[in-house]
Protein backbone atom coordinates (compact mmCIF):
# COMPACT_ATOMS: atom_id res chain seq x y z
CA UNK A 1 0.00 0.00 0.00
CA UNK A 2 1.22 3.46 0.87
CA UNK A 3 4.52 2.20 2.20
CA UNK A 4 6.52 5.42 1.82
CA UNK A 5 4.10 7.30 4.05
CA UNK A 6 4.10 4.45 6.55
CA UNK A 7 7.90 4.34 6.54
CA UNK A 8 8.14 8.08 7.22
CA UNK A 9 5.50 7.85 9.96
CA UNK A 10 7.13 4.89 11.66
CA UNK A 11 10.54 6.58 11.54
CA UNK A 12 9.11 9.65 13.21
CA UNK A 13 7.28 7.44 15.70
CA UNK A 14 10.51 5.76 16.81
CA UNK A 15 12.28 9.13 16.81
CA UNK A 16 9.71 10.80 19.02
CA UNK A 17 9.64 7.78 21.34
CA UNK A 18 13.41 7.99 21.83
CA UNK A 19 13.32 11.77 22.23
CA UNK A 20 10.64 11.39 24.89
CA UNK A 21 12.88 9.10 26.95
CA UNK A 22 16.03 11.16 26.47
CA UNK A 23 14.64 14.63 27.17
CA UNK A 24 15.36 15.95 30.65
CA UNK A 25 12.98 18.91 30.25
CA UNK A 26 9.61 17.41 31.13
CA UNK A 27 7.64 20.16 29.38
CA UNK A 28 9.46 19.41 26.14
CA UNK A 29 8.85 15.70 26.72
CA UNK A 30 5.12 16.39 27.09
CA UNK A 31 5.06 18.29 23.79
CA UNK A 32 6.98 15.46 22.08
CA UNK A 33 4.49 13.00 23.54
CA UNK A 34 1.72 15.04 21.91
CA UNK A 35 3.51 14.75 18.57
CA UNK A 36 3.90 11.01 19.15
CA UNK A 37 0.15 10.70 19.73
CA UNK A 38 -0.59 12.67 16.57
CA UNK A 39 1.60 10.33 14.48
CA UNK A 40 -0.02 7.37 16.20
CA UNK A 41 -3.46 8.76 15.27
CA UNK A 42 -2.43 8.97 11.61
CA UNK A 43 -1.10 5.42 11.87
CA UNK A 44 -4.44 4.19 13.22
CA UNK A 45 -6.32 5.78 10.35
CA UNK A 46 -3.76 4.23 7.96
CA UNK A 47 -4.56 0.87 9.55
CA UNK A 48 -8.27 1.55 8.93
CA UNK A 49 -9.18 2.01 12.56
CA UNK A 50 -10.84 5.44 12.43
CA UNK A 51 -12.51 5.05 15.83
CA UNK A 52 -9.16 4.50 17.49
CA UNK A 53 -7.63 7.35 15.51
CA UNK A 54 -10.27 9.74 16.84
CA UNK A 55 -9.71 8.59 20.41
CA UNK A 56 -5.95 8.85 20.08
CA UNK A 57 -6.14 12.35 18.62
CA UNK A 58 -8.58 13.66 21.21
CA UNK A 59 -7.29 11.93 24.34
CA UNK A 60 -3.62 11.29 23.54
CA UNK A 61 -2.73 14.45 21.72
CA UNK A 62 -5.24 16.74 23.40
CA UNK A 63 -6.38 16.09 26.94
CA UNK A 64 -3.37 14.10 28.19
CA UNK A 65 -0.95 16.79 27.06
CA UNK A 66 -2.95 19.45 28.89
CA UNK A 67 -2.97 17.32 32.05
CA UNK A 68 0.80 16.76 31.78
CA UNK A 69 1.46 20.47 31.28
CA UNK A 70 -0.71 21.46 34.23
CA UNK A 71 0.98 18.84 36.41
CA UNK A 72 4.43 20.05 35.36
CA UNK A 73 3.52 23.62 36.22
CA UNK A 74 2.33 22.49 39.63
CA UNK A 75 5.41 20.38 40.36
CA UNK A 76 8.87 20.62 38.83
CA UNK A 77 9.96 21.04 35.27
CA UNK A 78 13.34 19.36 35.31
CA UNK A 79 13.90 15.71 35.86
CA UNK A 80 16.07 14.89 38.85
CA UNK A 81 19.28 13.07 38.17
Amino acid sequence: MNWTLNLVLLTFLVGTAFAMIMLKDLLAAAVVFSAYSLIMAIMWSQLRAPDLALTEAAVGAGVTTVLFVITIFRTVRKENR
Binding site: P50, D51, L54, V66, I72, R74, T75, R77
Partner: protein
Protein backbone atom coordinates in the same frame (compact mmCIF):
# COMPACT_ATOMS: atom_id res chain seq x y z
CA UNK B 1 27.52 -3.76 34.61
CA UNK B 2 23.97 -2.63 35.24
CA UNK B 3 23.86 -1.03 31.82
CA UNK B 4 25.06 -4.23 30.17
CA UNK B 5 22.33 -6.17 31.96
CA UNK B 6 19.67 -3.70 30.76
CA UNK B 7 20.91 -3.91 27.18
CA UNK B 8 20.91 -7.72 27.30
CA UNK B 9 17.40 -7.81 28.74
CA UNK B 10 16.12 -5.41 26.07
CA UNK B 11 17.82 -7.43 23.31
CA UNK B 12 16.23 -10.63 24.61
CA UNK B 13 12.82 -8.95 24.69
CA UNK B 14 13.34 -7.66 21.15
CA UNK B 15 14.29 -11.13 19.89
CA UNK B 16 11.18 -12.64 21.49
CA UNK B 17 8.92 -9.96 20.03
CA UNK B 18 10.39 -10.28 16.52
CA UNK B 19 10.11 -14.07 16.73
CA UNK B 20 6.41 -13.76 17.65
CA UNK B 21 5.81 -11.31 14.80
CA UNK B 22 7.40 -13.83 12.43
CA UNK B 23 4.98 -16.49 13.67
CA UNK B 24 1.92 -14.33 12.97
CA UNK B 25 -0.20 -15.28 9.93
CA UNK B 26 0.08 -13.20 6.80
CA UNK B 27 -2.38 -10.39 6.15
CA UNK B 28 -5.46 -11.92 4.52
CA UNK B 29 -4.58 -15.43 5.71
CA UNK B 30 -7.49 -17.58 6.87
CA UNK B 31 -5.92 -17.91 10.31
CA UNK B 32 -5.99 -14.20 11.12
CA UNK B 33 -8.14 -13.20 14.10
CA UNK B 34 -10.76 -11.52 11.92
CA UNK B 35 -11.61 -14.88 10.34
CA UNK B 36 -11.57 -17.02 13.46
CA UNK B 37 -13.25 -17.16 16.87
CA UNK B 38 -16.19 -14.88 17.40
CA UNK B 39 -15.41 -12.16 14.86
CA UNK B 40 -17.16 -13.70 11.80
CA UNK B 41 -20.38 -13.70 13.76
CA UNK B 42 -19.97 -10.00 14.55
CA UNK B 43 -19.34 -9.26 10.89
CA UNK B 44 -22.20 -11.35 9.55
CA UNK B 45 -24.90 -10.91 12.17
CA UNK B 46 -23.78 -7.81 14.04
CA UNK B 47 -26.01 -5.35 12.23
CA UNK B 48 -29.01 -7.64 12.56
CA UNK B 49 -28.45 -8.58 16.19
CA UNK B 50 -27.19 -5.34 17.64
CA UNK B 51 -28.86 -2.75 15.46
CA UNK B 52 -26.12 -0.28 14.57
CA UNK B 53 -24.45 -0.09 11.18
CA UNK B 54 -21.05 0.64 12.69
CA UNK B 55 -19.84 -2.77 13.85
CA UNK B 56 -17.47 -1.21 16.37
CA UNK B 57 -20.43 0.45 18.07
CA UNK B 58 -22.23 -2.89 18.03
CA UNK B 59 -19.34 -4.58 19.80
CA UNK B 60 -18.66 -1.79 22.27
CA UNK B 61 -22.22 -1.07 23.36
CA UNK B 62 -23.99 -4.34 22.74
CA UNK B 63 -21.84 -7.47 22.68
CA UNK B 64 -19.39 -5.99 25.17
CA UNK B 65 -21.80 -3.74 27.04
CA UNK B 66 -20.54 -4.85 30.45
CA UNK B 67 -16.98 -3.85 29.57
CA UNK B 68 -18.07 -0.44 28.42
CA UNK B 69 -20.12 0.08 31.58
CA UNK B 70 -17.02 -0.79 33.58
CA UNK B 71 -14.89 1.63 31.59
CA UNK B 72 -17.37 4.41 32.14
CA UNK B 73 -17.29 3.64 35.85
CA UNK B 74 -13.46 3.75 35.73
CA UNK B 75 -13.49 7.24 34.23
CA UNK B 76 -16.00 8.31 36.85
CA UNK B 77 -13.81 6.94 39.64
CA UNK B 78 -10.84 8.80 38.18
CA UNK B 79 -12.81 12.01 38.55
CA UNK B 80 -13.75 11.03 42.11
CA UNK B 81 -10.06 10.46 42.92
CA UNK B 82 -9.04 13.84 41.49
CA UNK B 83 -11.77 15.60 43.45
CA UNK B 84 -10.87 13.74 46.65
CA UNK B 85 -7.22 14.73 46.29
CA UNK B 86 -7.41 18.26 44.93
CA UNK B 87 -10.87 19.67 45.24
CA UNK B 88 -12.31 18.62 48.56
CA UNK B 89 -13.60 21.95 49.76
CA UNK B 90 -15.90 24.37 48.05
CA UNK B 91 -16.23 22.39 44.88
CA UNK B 92 -18.91 24.68 43.48
CA UNK B 93 -16.86 27.82 44.01
CA UNK B 94 -14.13 27.84 41.46
CA UNK B 95 -12.14 30.91 40.69
CA UNK B 96 -9.48 31.14 38.10
CA UNK B 97 -5.90 30.90 39.20
CA UNK B 98 -5.15 33.73 36.81
CA UNK B 99 -6.74 37.15 36.69
CA UNK B 100 -8.48 37.26 33.32
CA UNK B 101 -7.29 40.82 32.62
CA UNK B 102 -3.70 39.71 33.17
CA UNK B 103 -3.79 36.96 30.59
CA UNK B 104 -1.33 37.51 27.81
CA UNK B 105 -2.16 34.75 25.39
CA UNK B 106 -1.23 35.84 21.93
CA UNK B 107 -3.81 37.37 19.64
CA UNK B 108 -3.23 34.68 17.02
CA UNK B 109 -4.06 31.96 19.54
CA UNK B 110 -7.14 33.79 20.78
CA UNK B 111 -8.55 34.43 17.30
CA UNK B 112 -7.83 30.86 16.20
CA UNK B 113 -9.54 29.36 19.22
CA UNK B 114 -12.50 31.70 18.89
CA UNK B 115 -13.02 30.67 15.26
CA UNK B 116 -12.30 26.97 15.77
CA UNK B 117 -14.20 26.40 19.01
CA UNK B 118 -17.73 26.23 17.49
CA UNK B 119 -16.47 24.03 14.66
CA UNK B 120 -14.79 21.59 17.06
CA UNK B 121 -17.87 21.50 19.26
CA UNK B 122 -20.15 20.87 16.28
CA UNK B 123 -17.83 18.08 15.14
CA UNK B 124 -18.04 16.52 18.61
CA UNK B 125 -21.84 16.55 18.52
CA UNK B 126 -21.71 14.99 15.06
CA UNK B 127 -19.39 12.26 16.35
CA UNK B 128 -21.74 11.42 19.20
CA UNK B 129 -24.91 11.38 17.09
CA UNK B 130 -23.39 9.49 14.16
CA UNK B 131 -21.50 6.88 16.16
CA UNK B 132 -24.13 4.35 15.09
CA UNK B 133 -23.48 4.70 11.39
CA UNK B 134 -19.90 5.88 10.98
CA UNK B 135 -16.66 6.20 12.89
CA UNK B 136 -16.95 7.89 16.23
CA UNK B 137 -19.25 7.49 19.15
CA UNK B 138 -19.93 8.63 22.66
CA UNK B 139 -16.42 8.38 24.05
CA UNK B 140 -14.70 10.02 21.09
CA UNK B 141 -17.27 12.80 20.89
CA UNK B 142 -17.12 13.36 24.63
CA UNK B 143 -13.33 13.56 24.53
CA UNK B 144 -13.51 16.15 21.75
CA UNK B 145 -16.11 18.15 23.72
CA UNK B 146 -13.87 18.05 26.77
CA UNK B 147 -10.80 19.04 24.73
CA UNK B 148 -12.60 21.97 23.11
CA UNK B 149 -13.83 23.35 26.44
CA UNK B 150 -10.39 22.84 27.98
CA UNK B 151 -8.70 24.73 25.13
CA UNK B 152 -11.22 27.54 25.47
CA UNK B 153 -10.58 27.65 29.22
CA UNK B 154 -6.82 27.72 28.84
CA UNK B 155 -6.90 30.58 26.36
CA UNK B 156 -9.67 32.72 27.81
CA UNK B 157 -9.51 31.62 31.49
CA UNK B 158 -13.19 30.91 31.33
CA UNK B 159 -13.09 29.00 34.59
CA UNK B 160 -14.99 31.77 36.36
CA UNK B 161 -18.02 30.87 34.32
CA UNK B 162 -18.20 27.50 36.05
CA UNK B 163 -19.65 29.37 38.99
CA UNK B 164 -22.74 29.94 36.87
CA UNK B 165 -23.24 26.20 36.40
CA UNK B 166 -24.87 24.85 39.57
CA UNK B 167 -22.89 22.13 41.29
CA UNK B 168 -25.89 19.79 41.19
CA UNK B 169 -26.08 20.06 37.42
CA UNK B 170 -22.37 19.34 37.09
CA UNK B 171 -22.67 16.27 39.29
CA UNK B 172 -25.66 15.05 37.26
CA UNK B 173 -23.80 15.55 33.96
CA UNK B 174 -20.72 13.76 35.29
CA UNK B 175 -22.63 10.75 36.54
CA UNK B 176 -25.02 10.62 33.59
CA UNK B 177 -23.27 7.80 31.76
CA UNK B 178 -23.18 5.28 34.60
CA UNK B 179 -26.77 6.12 35.56
CA UNK B 180 -28.03 5.73 31.98
CA UNK B 181 -26.23 2.43 31.61
CA UNK B 182 -27.84 1.12 34.80
CA UNK B 183 -31.26 2.49 33.83
CA UNK B 184 -31.17 0.89 30.38
CA UNK B 185 -29.90 -2.35 31.90
CA UNK B 186 -32.69 -2.50 34.46
CA UNK B 187 -35.42 -1.64 31.93
CA UNK B 188 -34.51 -4.96 30.33
CA UNK B 189 -34.57 -6.73 33.70
CA UNK B 190 -38.04 -5.41 34.50
CA UNK B 191 -39.25 -6.50 31.07
CA UNK B 192 -38.10 -10.02 31.82
CA UNK B 193 -34.89 -10.31 29.80
CA UNK B 194 -31.25 -10.21 30.80
CA UNK B 195 -29.43 -7.15 32.09
CA UNK B 196 -28.30 -4.85 29.26
CA UNK B 197 -30.51 -6.40 26.59
CA UNK B 198 -31.36 -3.62 24.21
CA UNK B 199 -33.89 -5.36 22.04
CA UNK B 200 -36.88 -5.93 24.25
CA UNK B 201 -39.51 -8.61 23.66
CA UNK B 202 -42.29 -7.21 21.52
CA UNK B 203 -39.96 -5.03 19.49
CA UNK B 204 -38.89 -6.53 16.22
CA UNK B 205 -35.10 -6.65 16.09
CA UNK B 206 -32.68 -6.05 13.37
CA UNK B 207 -33.64 -3.21 11.09
CA UNK B 208 -30.36 -1.38 10.73
CA UNK B 209 -30.83 2.33 11.07
CA UNK B 210 -34.37 2.01 12.41
CA UNK B 211 -34.84 4.21 15.43
CA UNK B 212 -36.58 1.61 17.57
CA UNK B 213 -33.67 -0.79 17.50
CA UNK B 214 -31.27 2.02 18.23
CA UNK B 215 -33.04 4.09 20.85
CA UNK B 216 -31.31 2.50 23.84
CA UNK B 217 -27.87 2.52 22.25
CA UNK B 218 -28.47 6.09 21.17
CA UNK B 219 -29.35 7.23 24.68
CA UNK B 220 -26.31 5.47 26.12
CA UNK B 221 -24.14 7.02 23.41
CA UNK B 222 -25.38 10.54 24.17
CA UNK B 223 -25.04 9.96 27.92
CA UNK B 224 -21.46 8.73 27.53
CA UNK B 225 -20.62 11.73 25.35
CA UNK B 226 -22.01 14.28 27.79
CA UNK B 227 -20.50 12.57 30.81
CA UNK B 228 -17.02 12.09 29.33
CA UNK B 229 -16.95 15.74 28.24
CA UNK B 230 -18.07 16.88 31.70
CA UNK B 231 -15.61 14.59 33.50
CA UNK B 232 -12.58 15.65 31.43
CA UNK B 233 -13.50 19.30 31.90
CA UNK B 234 -14.04 18.85 35.64
CA UNK B 235 -10.67 17.11 36.08
CA UNK B 236 -8.82 19.96 34.39
CA UNK B 237 -10.88 22.59 36.25
CA UNK B 238 -10.07 20.92 39.55
CA UNK B 239 -6.39 20.92 38.68
CA UNK B 240 -6.16 24.59 37.75
CA UNK B 241 -8.27 25.98 40.56
CA UNK B 242 -6.89 28.89 42.49
CA UNK B 243 -6.60 27.41 45.96
CA UNK B 244 -4.67 24.41 44.63
CA UNK B 245 -2.40 26.37 42.37
CA UNK B 246 0.89 28.10 42.90
CA UNK B 247 1.72 30.39 40.04
CA UNK B 248 5.43 30.04 40.65
CA UNK B 249 6.52 26.51 39.80
CA UNK B 250 7.38 24.84 43.06
CA UNK B 251 11.11 24.18 43.38
CA UNK B 252 12.10 21.90 46.25
CA UNK B 253 15.09 22.74 48.41
CA UNK B 254 18.17 20.79 47.34
Amino acid sequence: MKKLFVILALAALGVVLLWVVGKMPEMGDSRTPDKTHVVPRYIEDGVKEAGAENLITDVILNYRGYDTMGEVAVIFSALCAVIALLDREKRGVSRSAVDASQVRSSRIVRVTVRILFPVIFLFAVYLILHGENSAGGGFQGGAVIGASIIVFTLVFTLIESTRDIPLTLRVILESLSVLTFLAVGFIGVFKGVEFLTYILPGLSPGVAGALRSQVFMMSIEIAIGVAVGAIFTSIVFAMIKEENFELEPHIPEP
